[in-house]
Amino acid sequence: MAEATAPKPSSSVKLVLLGEAAVGKSSLVLRFVNNDFQENKEPTIGAAFLTQKCNLPTRTIKFEIWDTAGQERFASLAPMYYRNAQSALVVYDLTKPTSLVKAKHWVAELQRQASPGIVIALVGNKLDLTNESASSSNNLGDDSEGDATEGEADDGDARKVSTAEAKSYAEEEGLLFFETSAKNGTNVSEVFTAIANAIPETSLKGARGPGATQAASRTEDQSRVNLTGPRDSAAKDTCAC
């Protein structure tokens, strides 16, 4: 099987997750990579690096994911992670309006500082909290987006950010937009598949076409080249030893 699909090109895509603390970035990744969920997950410290393959009809994308910590004090480290990233997941908590504000800041920063062609997806997480009664009575997954829109009208709904508001913002800025639930898996793989599809073929071919099999080491080379370059000014945080 693997031999048969060998011609199918495989390429690495660097992806970074950004967003306020406790919006569910790690949970999204955990769902995507391990199809697992943990209640009351403890906050990420620093950043975690994970990989996961995503099979598309025409090619295989290997995501190299930087799951960053959302706390304010780690913000200064973010450039290290989104530099050279071909894609970014900016996550907010759709029960918490301030997290969307923070997400907008991240989007602006990415558009300003990250590589020009970066694919950004805006993701509203914790869809499961919006209409719990509805989602438990309905089938999960297939029409949950419909549920969510209905749920907005619900009285016991924890949703504070309307789909329309976030969606219009995403369209304005040219972002992919999803509402997800890492808890019950709604829309999670869709987000990553959409990103994989949105990565322009050219950027893949151009950057990594020839060395697709050695993509990992190439990423490493790339980042190393950049390390010694312009980032030195930002290295003032490093240990004084």
């Binding site: 990579v33 410290i45 304010e72 490493e220």
Partner: protein, 719 residues
């Protein structure tokens, strides 16, 4: 005379058992009644009832003998009357086995029987002593006193009689096996019930020991020469048959088997780590929440000098704000007086305060730790804060705005602080001893692992560590830098206790300040976990995130000063793992991890020791056996740790020169032994004899000496 028989009827069993065939003078009979009774007590574990009875007897005795010769108040008189026969006896005993204390103590059963068999003159009263001694042994003294004619008075006046000086300059504190009958009073030296500093503990003991020592006299011990170990070993061969019988029956009793007695303080320990509901989560739950909060045995509060709450282990802001205000007022009051408040006691609760720059740390404990132990814990919390923020950042924050709310910059580290706090509350040998534990593997194997790390090292590497379940396997470091145990404590806490890193899965890149190394800046730590039970999954793919025991996690930590070196270190990690797989070290490590710590009985077969701690001072490392089978539950572990904390406090108290401490309590016997080379603490069941305990200790220490290069990392690999 009528009284005597009345007294006899109070303890008919005792008479029947021990006084058969005795036709003593009336007073002698009474005496034997009491002593036989105390023997009885030793058997049934000193029930309060029989103690009371015995005390009644003494009262009776006092009154009765008081009717005798009127002018016999002075001790001199007593001694003169009683002097003849017991002196003979003393000599006889010296012929047999030498006059070590142990002999005196242990033989007392036979001794009193002997004294009953021979007719002996009525003994005069000793009112002052009898009043002092609320022990059934009071009466024994009369049989021994004469041999030590001049001692009792000195003993009475000396406060610290329990601390004995030996010719080699060392000193030791002893209690005797006979103490067991009155172990309720000994709970102070065993599992402390209250809050007290070590100094106070010792003096508390002192007063109790005074009573006994003056009566029982330790004088023979004072002339002992030879080293302490041999001193403790003596008496092995000289136990009376009766005592031996008793011991063989009861030596198998394990520590803390009778949980009901002294354990009141730990009754809610099971709920200690439960989360408290938020105030207002439901209407009118404030009282309940408050009582939950107050039921916690241990609290840690961190606040800024301006009174802003920063962290509390239990309770949310609404709940603790009031208390933060109070404690801030109290601390500030003393700060202004330039007389910083260090701690205070309220009821059974000890408050210890430590001030670090703009931060106040408060530990509130009902678990009986000493001030300095609590202070060490607070220091660790401070280190955790520094580790998050670095000292310059912290100083800067408060310099700019003294009113800074630090809980925001520290956001997300509550779990680290809490897991650290819970580690202390559960009791951690590593924290207590400020030492590290290593995975036991062969020296050559460790050498191979070290070399693998050295061989694959990249230029960016500062420290490289392999850690298995919180135990160090291997460490490589630059020649000019060593690793500080307190830094490793923070790292291990983050990786193995808090679970934030592990739960995230994958590989981690963590900025961390190691205050012991340099509190001014961050280092960057590459962390990747390998599951010891998962032999296939080592390719850097993320293992399953299902809950796994932290005991069997192997972590590879690579620390660099360069924040951009993640991929370099990742490459090194891949190389290390590959080579460890190739040369078989990885499976060795996994096997060692899976095996866990050896049980005490596996280390020294047949030992009476149930658990021990051995700290090598020069290596700043310690080793201990498995907690199973005797200390597996949370409470049993905590009691064990409390015991170790008390031993540690007593041997580390300022100005204390205690080198050997033998501690007897109702449900355990323990020993602390410190030398310049090591600190050793061990515990055995309540009926273990001191000699057997000492023998067990010696065996363990010999074992550690033999295995030193396996249980400890000596030297380590430098580059």
């Amino acid at each position: 005379m009528g009284r005597t028989s009345g007294q006899g009827s109070l303890s008919p069993d005792a008479h029947a058992q021990h006084n058969t065939g005795i036709q003593p003078a009336e007073t002698a009979n009474q005496e034997n009644g009491a002593s036989a009774m105390s023997l009885d007590n030793q058997k049934d574990g000193a029930s309060n009832r029989s103690q009371d009875d015995t005390e009644d007897d003494k009262q009776d005795g006092k009154i009765q003998v008081g009717d005798g010769p009127k002018e016999r108040d002075s001790q001199k008189d007593q001694l003169e009357t009683g002097i003849e026969r017991p002196q003979d006896k003393q000599e006889a005993r010296m012929d047999e086995a030498g006059p070590e204390t142990q002999n005196v103590d242990i033989e007392e059963g036979t001794e009193t029987q002997d004294s009953g068999l021979e007719e002996r003159p009525p003994l005069p009263p000793r009112p002052s002593l009898l009043q002092n001694a609320e022990q059934p042994f009071a009466t024994h003294s009369t049989s021994k006193r004469p041999g030590l004619a001049s001692k009792p008075t000195t003993a009475l006046s000396s406060v610290d009689i329990q601390t004995l000086s030996f010719p080699d300059g060392s000193r030791g504190t002893f209690s005797t096996p006979a103490h067991r009958t009155v172990s309720d009073s000994l709970s102070v030296s065993g599992l402390s019930t209250g809050q007290s500093t070590p100094h106070r503990k010792v003096s508390q003991n002192g007063s109790e020991f005074d009573d006994n020592t003056s009566l029982r006299s330790y004088a023979p011990t004072l002339r002992a020469n030879g080293d302490l170990a041999s001193l403790l070993d003596e008496g092995l061969n000289s136990q009376s048959p009766a005592w031996k019988l008793l011991s063989t029956q009861s030596e198998s009793v394990n520590p803390f088997e009778s949980v009901d007695y002294e354990n009141i303080s730990l009754i809610n320990f099971g709920q200690e780590f439960d989360q408290i509901e938020a105030v207002g989560a439901q209407e009118g739950n404030e009282e309940e929440v408050l009582s939950q909060w107050k039921a916690k045995l241990k609290h840690y509060l961190i606040l800024s000098s301006a009174g802003k709450p920063i962290y509390s282990r239990h309770g949310d802001q609404n709940l603790i704000n009031g208390y933060i205000g109070i404690i801030q007022t109290i601390i500030s009051f003393y700060e202004e007086a330039k007389d910083p408040l260090l701690g205070f006691t309220a009821g059974g609760t000890r408050f210890v305060i430590s001030t670090d720059g703009p931060l106040y740390f408060v530990a509130i404990s009902r678990l009986g730790e000493s001030d300095s132990q609590l202070r060490t814990q607070l220091e660790a919390l401070y280190m955790q804060i520094l580790s998050t923020l670095t000292l310059p950042t912290l100083t800067q924050l408060f310099k700019n705005r003294p009113n800074t709310d630090l809980s925001r910059p520290l956001e997300g580290t509550e779990t680290l602080l809490s897991s650290l706090a819970d580690t202390f509350t559960k009791g951690s040998a590593s924290a207590l001893l400020s030492a590290l534990e290593c995975l036991k593997i062969r020296k050559s194997q460790r050498h191979l692992i070290n070399n693998t790390l050295l061989k694959t090292r990249t230029d960016k590497l500062l420290y490289g560590l392999i850690v298995a379940g919180g135990r160090l396997v291997s460490v490589v470091r630059p020649k000019r830098h060593s690793l500080h145990p307190s830094d490793l404590q923070l790292i291990f806490n983050m990786l193995f206790e808090a679970g934030s890193v592990k739960a995230g899965g994958g590989e981690n890149w963590i900025p961390v300040c190691l205050p012991g190394f340099n509190n001014k800046g961050y280092l960057y730590m590459y962390v990747s976990f390998i599951n010891a039970h998962d032999d296939v999954n080592t390719s850097g793919e993320r293992p399953s995130t299902a809950s796994r025991g932290r005991e069997d996690e192997i972590a590879i930590l690579l620390i660099s000063a360069d924040k951009e070196s993640f991929f370099e270190l990742k490459q090194m990690r891949d190389d290390v793992v590959e080579q460890l797989e190739q040369n078989g070290s990885m499976s060795l490590i996994k096997a060692a991890v899976r095996q866990g710590r050896p049980k005490a009985s596996e280390i020294v077969p047949g030992t009476i020791l149930r658990h021990f701690l051995y700290k090598s001072r020069s290596n700043v490392q310690f080793m201990m056996p498995s907690f199973s089978p005797h200390f597996e539950t949370l409470i049993a572990k905590r009691r064990l740790m409390s015991l170790y904390h008390n031993l540690h406090a007593s041997t580390h108290a300022k100005h204390s020169h205690v080198k050997v401490l033998h501690c007897v309590s109702r449900d355990s016997v323990s020993l602390a032994w410190t030398t310049p080379l090591f600190e050793f603490y061990c515990v055995a069941g309540p009926n273990a004899s001191r000699a057997a305990l000492a023998q067990g200790a010696n065996q363990v220490i010999q074992w550690v000496k033999r295995e030193e290069e396996r249980v400890f990392i000596i030297g380590g690999a430098v580059f």
